[in-house]
Amino acid sequence: MQEENLKVAGGTLTDYIYSSPVDHYQHHFRRIVLVIVLVALALVLIAGLYYFMSDRTPYYANISEHFKYGSIGAETGGSIFTEVGGVLPPYFVFKTLPAICPDKLPGGYASLGLVFEPGHDLPIGVSRRWRLGVEQVGLNCAVCHTGTVRQSADATPQIVLGMPAHQLDLENFFRFVEDASLDDRVTADSVIATAEGMGDHVSIIQKLILHLFLMDRLKLVTVSLQNRIGPLLNGGLPEWGRGRVDTFNPYKAIQFNWNLKLLPHDELIGAADFPSLWNQQPREGMHLHWDGNNTSVDERNLSASLGAGVTPVTADHASLQRIHDWIWTLPPPKYPFAIDHGRSARGKDIFTQACAECHSFGGRKTGTVENIATINTDPYRLNSYTYALTGNQAQLYPDSQYRFTHFTKTDGYANQPLDGVWARAPYLHNGSVPTLLDLLTDPAERPKQFARGYDVYNQQKVGFVYDTPQAKQAGTWYDTTIPGNGNGGHLFGTQLPLDQKLDLIEFMKTL
């Protein structure tokens, strides 16, 4: 043995004077095992990071499919990491709520006017996105901007993209989701069992997440959401009804944490019709929104997405840009029924004389705000948008290209271009007048009450059927005497003879 091997280190003989082949083998083997364990741990870590940290959503190459089902970033829902809640609960919960609580929504989501297509388990306007280890769902533009039209009660509904979702009962949709999410029957067990009963595969990890975190988080998030927007949905205000939404009051609560109970009661009345989405390019620079509070199509789009549940953190700007590019030039839908071209030709002249200045692209006043005193339509929607909200909106997206700089408080309602106006019934900002012919009628003679949301079309009056038993059954009842629902104002054309009115609305079918 060499002398250096006998040296004593710190008074103790070193361990390795020599070693055996078995030692070498086992040392080598353990190193391999260690490497394998480390690699396995790394893989688990990577897989875990991918599972819990990746943000992915189906990509739809077809723009129409993207519009209908693509995510714009509204899936902010619950997770094991955060209580930040979205408008909708996670996928499995959302999908199973109607089945678990059938008494609360006997007809399912379709009964609320959400449009289902074959081959899709979610309705148009509801997107999926994997975030924070959970499949989330959110709303996209299409939920409020996809309408259905039928020629008759026995015809198949035609889905028109970009059209106001006149059939959608958004308020009761929100009410159901909130109410059912807090229902005692909605548990991890019931969600898993129901989803699997529907043919879904719920992975073990998802089951664990549902059991350990997600349902508790969901209940908390829902209670929190309820606390914020409860004053809007708890029955103390006029119903929105089908085809309408209060654009800015939920916005105040969800985005800015305003305590709605402290606001004046009348300010909380702000329901208005969903607008159409097509043909945005010529609208750039016009006063957009019913009250014309913004002149930028992009800002209006981004702001509207916030209404759908997108947050500044989760907004999918690339996806929104695709929507922007598409609706920039999306043509209005052609009137799907017969047109009397003789009347239409005569009506064109009347339109040019009586309407074009305010309602044609290129019209002198088109896209400008008409003072409320002049137009004299219902003022609630105008008043629900306030200076204070303008100030808050300006604080969103600070130091970024998305910061809002075009919001203003106006004093009236904007003159809207009337492209595709046949599909935009009912009329006026609050949808208080069911048809164009009714709009050309003196306010005192306009229908006081009617059903809205029924998608069979009235070709004579140009608008949806509103006064048949079927319409009353399918739609929500609209009372023009309730605050915010007034059908007064906009007297233009009311003095025309009936024949000219019929000529005019025949022409308006072609816009």
């Binding site: 070693s19 055996s20 082949p21 078995v22 086992q26 083997f29």
Partner: protein, 452 residues
């Protein structure tokens, strides 16, 4: 009426008084350096006294690097000759023959010992063994030639010691098996590949021994009829078939062996040999001696240690045993070997019952049987059989507790049931091997006399 068991068996150069051979077995009775002790003499003499016709020694290493376990007397140098002479003389006093089993462990070193643990075992291959994970390296041609020489030298020393013959341990997975078996030998040179090549090492040893000791000295080979290399782990290779085993026996006969000792099993212990039980509780107590011998020691010990895991080893160990009897486990294969060779045959594996032994001899399965465990349990088994009984009062149960104790403890019968549950009585019986000691009156007075 004569009893075939007690008819003499004539080999070319040796006659044995009966057909009962003590098979090769011993304990760690000798000195660590391979020199012998009185305990070994006592051990061997006890069997001779019991009436066997011949004793085959335990494995006797022809070289230190080929030692299976320390504390076994070796025959690696001439200074060992006097000890073996003393063993032979003690045995001969009882009209019993003594055949030294020349052995080289190859890779199968159950306990390498302080001299060997820094070097891998030598083998035909560099692949570790399947059971304990014993590491090894393939022998060079020069090492093969040297090892052939060690065997020849061992045979010479046995003859010089006055022993009655030698046996080559060419079965049970030791070095010569490692060359013979297609399941182990992966050489690409003239000692690997075809069966003839794999048998070259054995045949060269036989030729070298014959050259060293002449043709008038008893030489036998213990061979596997079949390897059953996949008996424990089904993913291992099967090794040599019966046809190959017969062929090797024929070549050995041609090369000059006087007898074939037939066994089976590519490793030792093997699920089929020694036949009988697998005392996992004993493994739990004593396998610790072997944990660091191979790279699978810890794994094996873990399985032996935890009762929840023991079904795993029981499942593997027992899966091929169902198709074989415990008694006369290899007799069917032995008969096939016997049919194809001319020299006398000795068969081992599960022999105890007189009826069975008479049958295999009288019906041509074998010419003699070799016995280890039943003789450890009852050294006087030959006398019992000769008295007309087929079994002793407390026969061997083939529990294999002796086998598992062997690497750690003095060899003996560890089946306490045979001692009516009296552990002290069992230990006392085992310890008899140490009496008389070399410092007893008998030995001391003999030493004084020689000085005078």
């Amino acid at each position: 009426m004569s009893d075939v068991i007690f008819e003499p068996l004539k080999f070319r150069n040796l006659t044995v008084k009966n057909r009962l051979f003590r098979s090769n077995v011993s304990g760690r009775f000798d000195n660590y350096d391979g020199s012998g002790t009185q305990a070994r003499i006592n051990w061997e003499e006890s069997f001779a006294r019991g009436g066997v016709g011949a004793i085959i020694s335990s494995y006797v290493p022809v070289h230190l690097r080929g030692r299976i376990i320390p504390n076994y007397a070796m025959v690696d140098s001439d200074d060992k000759i006097p000890f073996w002479r003393a063993v032979g003389e003690a045995v001969h006093r009882h009209d019993c023959k003594y055949i030294m089993q020349l052995s080289h462990s190859g890779r199968q070193r159950d306990v390498p010992g302080v001299e060997n643990f820094r070097e891998k075992g030598l083998s035909s291959t560099s692949q570790k063994d399947s059971f304990h994970g014993l590491l090894c390296e393939a022998m060079s041609i020069q090492q093969i030639k040297e090892t052939v020489r060690y065997f020849a030298d061992g045979a010479r020393r046995a003859r010089q010691a006055g022993l009655d013959g030698v046996e080559l341990h060419a079965s049970h997975g030791y070095l010569i098996t490692q060359f013979l078996s297609s399941g182990i030998n992966d050489r690409k040179d003239e000692y690997g590949g075809a069966l003839r090549n794999r048998a070259a090492f054995l045949l060269e040893i036989i030729q070298a021994i014959r050259k060293e000791v002449g043709t008038d000295y008893h030489l036998q080979a213990k061979l596997n009829a079949v390897d059953f290399g996949d008996a424990l782990y089904p993913w291992e290779k099967k090794g040599n078939t019966l046809e190959e085993g017969i062929q090797v026996a024929q070549w050995a006969e041609e090369a000059g062996v006087d007898a074939i000792h037939v066994s089976i099993g590519s490793i030792f212990p093997h699920p089929l040999l020694p036949p009988g039980g697998l005392p996992v509780d004993e493994f739990n107590w004593w396998y610790g001696t072997m944990i660091s011998s191979g790279v699978r020691g810890y794994m094996n010990y873990t399985v032996f240690h935890f009762k929840l895991l023991r079904p795993m080893i029981n499942l593997l160990w027992n899966r091929t045993k169902k198709s074989h009897p415990v008694e006369a486990v290899s007799s069917e294969y032995c008969r096939e070997v016997k049919k194809n060779v001319g020299v006398p045959i000795i068969n081992t594996g599960g022999y105890q019952d007189g009826k069975v032994i008479r049958r295999v001899i009288s019906e041509g399965y074998t010419d003699a049987v070799s016995i280890a465990r039943p003789l450890i349990a009852n050294r006087d088994l030959p006398h019992v059989l000769q008295s007309g009984k087929d079994l002793p009062e407390k026969p061997c149960t083939f529990c294999n507790r002796c086998l598992v104790n062997a690497p750690a403890n003095p060899l003996g019968c560890y089946d306490v049931r045979r001692f009516n549950g009296d552990h002290d009585a069992m230990i006392a019986e085992i310890m008899k091997v140490y009496a008389p000691s070399q410092f007893s009156e008998q030995h001391l007075s003999a030493a004084v006399a020689s000085e005078e």
